[in-house]
Symmetry: C2
Subunit: 256 residues, 2 copies
Amino acid sequence: MRILLTNDDGIYAPGLKALRKELLELGSVTVVAPATEQSAAGHSVTLLTPLLVNEVFEDDGKTFIGWAVEGRPADCVKLALLELLPDPPDVIISGLNAGSNAGINVLYSGTVAAAIEGAFYRRTAIAVSLEYDQKIYDFPTAAKYSRQVIEQILARNPPQGSLFNVNIPVLERGPVKGVKVLPQNVSPYTEKFDRRVNPRGRTYFWTSPEFTCPDPHPDTDVTALDESYITVTPLQFDLTDHARLEQLKKWEWKVE
Amino acid sequence: MRILLTNDDGIYAPGLKALRKELLELGSVTVVAPATEQSAAGHSVTLLTPLLVNEVFEDDGKTFIGWAVEGRPADCVKLALLELLPDPPDVIISGLNAGSNAGINVLYSGTVAAAIEGAFYRRTAIAVSLEYDQKIYDFPTAAKYSRQVIEQILARNPPQGSLFNVNIPVLERGPVKGVKVLPQNVSPYTEKFDRRVNPRGRTYFWTSPEFTCPDPHPDTDVTALDESYITVTPLQFDLTDHARLEQLKKWEWKVE
C-alpha cells in the first residue's frame, strides 16, 4: 500500500514523525508536508508566491522521507499528486495534528483541508488529530490508536474519494473508552482577542488561545472527545444547504 | 440597516469600492477588510502573528470607511464582531470578489470563508463574486446586480445565520439572463503547476492560473454561470457526510 502523509504542523512536527512510524507498518510512506507550521491554514492555497520544495531525509542522511514544501497543506497534496509522487497513493493521511479538529474548527483546520484536497482528487483521505490539555501530547500512543482506526477504515475498502475525520481524545485524563462515529458539532465557540497598542500608537490584536464551546450539540465529535472517546466523522465537501435550496427555488427573482 | 462589508481582495480593491457604493443605498456600511490581497485564503485564521488594524477614510480624509486588518478575511469578521463594531451588523456582505467562487473553489475562497465566519456568529451573511474573462471586470454593473440580489434575499427576512453564495457571470459575453438557485458543483477541476529551477538549483513550482472543470454536474453553479445566469446557492457548514454516517455506525470498531 502506498501512503501519502501530510500535515499542517510542518514536516518536522513530532506528531507526523510518530504517525509515520506507525504507518510504515502498513505500507510505503512518502511525506509531502509544509516546511513550516501552518496551523489554522484552512483550505488556503498559494497563488502569489512560488512553492519551493526540498527533499527531506532521516537523521542518517540517506533514508528518503519526502518533500518539504514552502506552502500550505492543500498545496502539498496538489503538488504530491500532480508533480512529486511517481505513483498515485492508495490513501492520503493528514496528521497527527497537535490539537483536536472537531466542531467548527474542522473549517479552520489545515489538517482536514489537506484531506479534503485529496478527496477532490478522488483519493481516500483520513485526517487525524490529537486533543490536548496543558500542551501535553503523547504522540506515540495517539499514533498507535490512529493506525488502528486507519487500518479498520481501510479494511472496509471504502470507495475512492472517501473522507474521514478522526480525533483522539486527551490521553492524560485516563484510558480511551472506545470509538464513536458521530457528526461534526456545529454550535459556536466563544473566543476573544487581546487588544494592545504598539510603541507607535497603533492598535493590534492577538487571537486568544482560550476558546470554549459553551453549548455543544449532544452526540457530536466535541462531546464524545470530552468523554474520552476516539471520534470518527465521515466528511463531504458540498456546502450547499439542500433543505433551503428547494425553498429558495420558489422565490421570485428579478434583476435589471 | 447596519451592514458589515468585507472581502478577500483587500480593502482598496475596486470590487469592494463598487459594492460599498451600492450598499450605501440600503443602509449604513462599515468595512472591515484585509489590508492586502488574500485570494484563496480559504478559512485560514491568524494565530502566530498580531492583527494590526488601521482606520481607513475616503479620499476626502474625513469620511470614515472602516478598518484595514493585517490578517485573513475570517479574522476581519471575528475582529469586527468582537472588537471593532459598536453595534452588531444586521447582515455581513463579502465581496465583490474579482473572480467567481463556484464549484469546489468555494472551499478555497476567502470571500466565502468570511461569510461562513459570519454565520458561525449567527449573522446572516452573503458572499458575492464576479466571474471574469480576460481579466476584464465591470464592477459597477456587477455591484448593481449584487445589490438587487442582496435586497431580494433580505426582503424575505431569512433566519439569523443564513448563508448565501452569489455569483455574477462574465458580463462581457452578453446580458445576464436571470437568477438561478442551484447547488454547488462538486466535480473536480483540472489544474497544473509550472515547474522551474532557481539560480541555486532548487526546484520550485508556480500554481498555474489555467484550470478547467471538464465535467461539471448539470444544473449547478458552474454550468449556470457558463450560461450567463446569476447563481444563488444557500450554504451551510456541517461537513458531516450524513448518509455515510449511518453506515459507519454499524461497523465494529476496536482499539487497544
